[in-house]
């Protein structure tokens, strides 16, 4: 298995006022192509900061991060934008759909800016939203909105999908549907999926579970038999 992302001694310090906050205190991580990785940690552990740096939205204060061997920390703004555009798909806790675009248009918007997109309508249908494609976000339930957001990320056909608490704002059943969709994308297309959450139960789905504590990798657990979303419960 090829390594898609590797970090070395990744550090991030924020300065809020005079006091430095060390969000990441040297993270070493290796993520393989096609892996389903769950990053687990309590809030304030630095997992979101890690995700932001992995996604090219933020730069580390120290250390290195390589995407397919290329160092992200040396990229300029334009190159980072292109990295986000073509290599990464993001899914947020609060969906962040464009309120004045329909479900299909939200997905199409992402497809339009990417080199090798998947067909938006088809992706949306796979999310079970074929009937809802002409609806605006305000007309969709939370689960539906999150599935549109996943479709929007997937349609870009990214090598890696980064998900920040994707089920955080959803109820139990809907959360499981969303996790199922993520797992399918990983399995069917062989793409890397990275989910960060504080929900330990989701860890059982990951090929690899990374425990983050106080800005460091506490331990890494390899799961030889990850369970499906339907078997997860919390």
């Amino acid at each position: 298995m090829e390594t898609i992302i590797r970090t070395q001694n990744l550090r991030k310090t924020f300065y809020t006022g005079e006091i430095p906050v060390h969000a990441l205190k040297g993270v070493d991580l290796e993520i393989g192509e096609g892996e389903f990785v769950v990053i687990l940690g309590p809030s304030g552990s630095g997992k979101s900061t890690l995700l932001n740096i992995l996604g090219g939205m933020d730069a580390p204060t120290e250390g290195e991060i390589f995407y397919r061997g290329k160092p992200l920390q040396n990229m300029n703004k334009k190159e980072l934008t292109m990295f986000r555009r073509n290599a990464v798909g993001f899914i947020f806790q609060f969906y962040n759909l464009m309120p004045n675009l329909t479900a299909l248009e939200n997905v199409t918007l992402a497809a339009e800016i990417t080199n090798d997109p998947l067909e938006p309508r088809k992706v949306l249908a796979e999310m079970g939203l074929a009937e809802r494609e002409d609806h605006f976000p305000s007309q969709l339930s939370g689960g539906e909105q999150q599935r549109v957001a996943i479709a929007r990320a997937i349609t870009k056909n990214p090598d890696i999908l980064l998900c920040d608490e994707p089920t955080g704002a959803l109820d139990y059943e809907t959360g499981k549907q969303v996790l199922d969709a993520l797992r399918n994308f990983n399995r069917d297309l062989g793409k890397t999926v990275l989910v960060i959450t504080h929900n330990a139960a989701i860890g059982n789905m990951g090929d690899k579970v990374v425990y983050i504590k106080d800005g460091r990798v506490d331990r890494i657990k390899i799961n030889p038999n990850p369970v499906s979303a339907s078997e997860v419960s919390w």
Partner: protein, 784 residues
Amino acid sequence: MLKRKLLRDIRGSLGAYIALISVLVIGLMLYVSMALTLDSLVLSKDNYYRDYKLADGFARITRGPAGLVADLEDIRGIDKAVGRIVLDVLVNKPAGEETTTLRLVSFEERQPLNRFMLEQGKVPTGEAREILVTPAFLKGNNYQIGDQIPLIIKGREVRFTISGTANSPEYVYEIPNGFTLAPNPKAFGVAFVPYSVAGPVLDMEGQVNDIAFSLNKGIEFLDVKTQASRVLNSYGMTSIYPVKDQLSYSMLTQEIKGLEGSAKTSPMIFLLVAASVLYIMLRRMVEQQRGQIGVMKAFGFTDWEIINHYMGYALFIGILGGLGGSVVGTVLSYYWVELYKVYYNIPDFTARVSLTYLLVGTLLSLLFSLFAGWRGCRRVIALNPAEAMRPPAPPAGKKTMVERVRFLWGVLNTQAKMAVRNVFRNKQRAFLVILGVACSFAMMVSSRASFDSTYYLIRYQFGEVERYDIKVTLNQYIDRVKGVNDSRNIDGVAGAEPMLEVPVTLSNRWLQKDIVITGLPQNGRLYRLVSAEGKHIDLPDNGLVISNQLAKTLEIQPGEVVTIKPFLGDRREEKVVVRQVVPQYVGLGAYMDIDALGALIHEPSSTSSILLSVDRSEMDQVRKDLQEGRNVGVIYDKNRMKQQFEDLMESYNATQYILIFFAFITGFAIVYNVNIISLSERERELSTLMVLGMTEREVARILAFEQGFLGLVAVIAGIPLGYGMLYAIVNGTASDIYNMPLRIEPVSFLISSLGAAAFLVAAQWRIKGRIAKLSMIEVLKENE
């Protein structure tokens, strides 16, 4: 503590506040400066007219005994009357210099009406050949007090010594006739001569040719016109008119009317724009800070205290804008007054600081901003604390009407679709942006177009209608054939045509007007009538062709029969058919075949003027030769007049660009502020787009598309608005003396569109800087 929050909030978006205050300052500056100038102008004018006894009525006669004024004073209603000798003579100058006409106006000691005001030097005693000239004439021709002026009187040179300078309320606007639109001391001036000197020198001892009279209280000009005419007719009356038709008086009245109109309208546009933007800003602020408002309410602040806090922003803007505008406006009024003083001779006309306007300006500014503020923040009251602390309901997406146009919608990519929906998302705001941009575009168009219209007038009048180079007005009628032949014999004259000008009273039903009918030869080339389509019109054998302004004034339709009563000959009334109405922008013109007009006054072969076309190179010599003619009254050099007119417009050019600049600032302020607001509302959306992998440029493009779309709509809406404003300007200044054509050149639309594009781009450019500062992480962390 809330005050501290207020100041910090203002500091946080300083740019937006500065832009807003600038618009207020511009509006008030215009208002205060114009109102101050207007007040001062009206006051000084009224004092001047009163103190120096400007007459209520005027009349011209061929000549009559000085004693006739006693007959006039006998008329019930007439208080005082004075008789004067008024004659235009030429200054004897070397060939090559501009022809200068000096109007000699006789005066007597202790004259009851139309007194002059001595500025410098001393009043001539009447023993020597001394005159007073206007200060403008003295300065414009580089004379000194004590210098001698050589005048040509009856073909001979007569020298007068300048004993001093004086102004008269009769010549506040010092022009010789209604065809001259601006004073030019090099071409025309007024001089005051003691009657005892003027009589013998002008061969009019014991006689007068110009009458002025005042009326008793409560008496109108029309009450005495008939009786006065009866007295004066036997002395060859050529005109009788009330003071409101007096040239200088009427020009000044027009100017005041125009200034009054501008002072009332143009500042309001700026104030309304500023108020609208303030309204949007405060409304947005209240929405954005609803959490804080909730907390304040939960703490126990009353609605009134919170409203007070938000009104503080309006107060801050209102006071700063009001004081700033009033102060700058007061300073600017000094500049206006100086500008006016170049053209209007009014003593004691000075700009002054007025506490009243400082107050009025500030109150006006406060009124607009507090009203806008109240409208913007009154929804604070409706919020209950718990609800206020919850975030507002997410904006609902909706399909827009544009989407019904399927083929158009299909062409757009998703980014463009998003932009279009955003435009429609907040209709009220879109409307205000369109209104603001349209107003500022229309202001650019109309301030440029008032120049277009004037230049068009110049081209039309001096290029199409008046084709001659020199017009010689004769002191007496002469035989037409002889006059033309004699003129043709002058070296350098390429062509000559007669022109017969007859003053008449023209009546249509009960409407009447004293005008001059111009008789022109058939197939004349030097003075042509031109139709609205620019085609040359042949004069009918009989009947009148009149200008549209005259047709409007007397409600005449082509084909109607009107009555004319000449001021010459036996004054018999005649019926004449109006054959055609032509556009004309200067004067109340009426035209007739010269033979038909001559027959009407029993002077079948006479002419009163000769039009000449002259070789350019021979111009100076021709003028010199003409000056020596015994019967030559006025030598009117059309090309110089045209040049002078163009120079005058040139000198106003700066005003045009200042107004365009103001419009630009206003447009920028609106677009920039609304952009900032949209941006703050949509930080989250735009950050998401950047996370998705859009470049800053692509994100900015979405906003640019929106602004471009609104801008385009605004510019289209601005075209009729610009025409409307121009129409208001043209209408506000129209008078019997001149009325401007309504004319907007395509290049003015182009320049104004570029101006609008420029402030849209400038605002967009500032926004792009803000987009670059958007933090993707910060924004996405928050809940919606």
